[in-house]
Point group: C2
Chain length 254, copies 2
């Protein structure tokens, strides 16, 4: 099973949009995907229309339930979800950076039955706190979305520095799946300039596919559907299918 | 002096863009503005072109320097800045939610000489952690920016709930300056629908002015200038001047 955390501490990078859209696109190709919502805001949980999340993922921190017990079905074929809830805020306040608390998630991942899912994708909150640290220590890959705007540029270096530090101390397997340019607005020169800057600074780390600005992606959560179901032929759906294809091409690399 | 925290835990709401643009617009009307960057990412600090921030605001938490000692000039007439730095990340990890740690900022605000500034505006990170709690307890008003997208809607109720709880327990003065619709894209029906939903749910709490999507706002930080200097006649500059005017009209209300 490939395990990917979607993270960038810059707010509004496209983390949740990427987690939900990519999961659905990968499932279309017949893979089985488990999404974990590690954001106390529960944006991905809301998007999948889960209303009665209970404590959700917080249960691995505040009681001793295992990850597999928290898995829910979704309306999207091939996609399961471990929901988030505001209980996560309480868990975060209680957890300190002591030894062991950052490995709670990676330990409970062993409760997942072997071979049941092909991909595990974790949506992270916009901060490198205890919750994100748990996600980054439990997975083997990090996907870094970034809005194609100047303000977001410094965030990529920060994430890469954090990944390197975690790799050196706590998770030697951790590698970067790629840097994903999001909300690329073909109408403005600014977006093009930023994507060019990303490619010249980070080379092959940047995905070939760019996710274009597409209002259908902003509308889809209002219907509780991923873009692949909400408007299957729009540019948003096509871009995320291309991303799924590019990521799946790397399956042998792990 | 009016003191306003710009906060929404939803990432990418337009907090930093509003803090920098509004401060510059208010200063154009002759008021003196002190900006405090409480976000460890230091997005506002970078935007103002401050390279040697030192520890910045973190010093009020990790040593006993007072706020007034940390004030810096900026290239914008009438605007001063207390910069942020990544030291804030260390401060956040060390601070616990014990009594007193959430009032550190409000205590040090008394070090500001009376009458030197007309407005204090605090840019908050996208989370209700110790740093944001300090900001919300130290100020008297909260301005809530929101991107005009469906995914952002639940964030407004959350902020209002947090404000009410802080008002009841720690800061009886705290009130909402207003809810600001940001990145309103006149080309899409979606944006219009979301703004309409905000107005029907929150009524007069929503500012009359809407900040339109304008790529010049995304470009301005690459030149280290607020929108009022970068492109004084663009819609971004005009919208934020209208916002400054609407906020200043409320000066007698405090
Ligand atoms: N390609 C796109 N086209 C149009 N809108 C988009 C696109 N990608 C994301 N958005 C919108 O941008 C905003 C930010 O996206 P999203 O919420 O997924 O980012 P995030 O990184 O998860 O934010 P947070 O930091 O709050 O977790 C949302 O309003 C979303 O609808
Ligand atoms: N009116 C606007 N028109 C176009 N782009 C905008 C506008 N307002 C903000 N932006 C862009 O949207 C993105 C998010 O804005 P900003 O960084 O100010 O939000 P934030 O709430 O401070 O984010 P964070 O949660 O990371 O602190 C930035 O890339 C910014 O350039
Ligand atoms: Mg998100
Ligand atoms: Mg910001």
């Amino acid at each position: 099973m490939r395990s990917i955390a979607v993270f960038n501490q810059k707010g509004g990078s496209g983390k949740t949009t990427t987690t939900v859209s990519l999961s659905a696109a990968i499932a279309e190709y017949g893979r089985r995907v488990l999404v974990v919502d590690m954001d106390p805001q529960g944006t991905a949980t809301n998007w999948f229309g889960i209303k009665d999340a209970g404590r959700g993922i917080a249960d691995i921190f505040i009681s001793v339930r295992s990850l597999v017990e928290l898995v829910r079905p979704t309306a999207v074929m091939g996609v399961n979800l471990v929901p988030a809830s505001t209980w996560l805020l309480g868990a975060e306040k209680v957890l300190s950076w002591e030894v062991g608390t950052v490995q709670i998630f990676s330990k409970t991942m062993t409760s997942l039955p072997h071979g049941q899912w092909d991909y595990l994708i974790v949506d992270c909150p916009p901060a490198l706190g205890i919750l994100t640290a748990n996600a980054l220590i439990g997975v083997e890959e990090v996907l870094i979305p970034i809005e194609a705007h100047h303000l977001a540029l410094p965030s990529v270096d920060r994430v890469i520095t954090s990944v390197e530090s975690l790799r050196n101390h706590l998770n030697p397997e951790l590698r970067i799946t790629g840097i994903l340019a999001c909300r690329v607005d073909s109408r403005t020169r600014h977006s093009k300039n930023i994507v060019q800057e990303l490619r010249s600074r980070f080379g092959d780390l940047v995905f070939k596919v760019e996710i274009r600005e597409n209002v259908r992606l902003a509308e889809a959560p209002s219907q509780g559907q991923p873009i692949t179901l909400y408007d299957s032929q729009c540019t948003g759906a096509r871009d995320y299918r291309d991303l799924a294809h590019e990521i799946m091409a790397g399956e042998g690399e792990g």
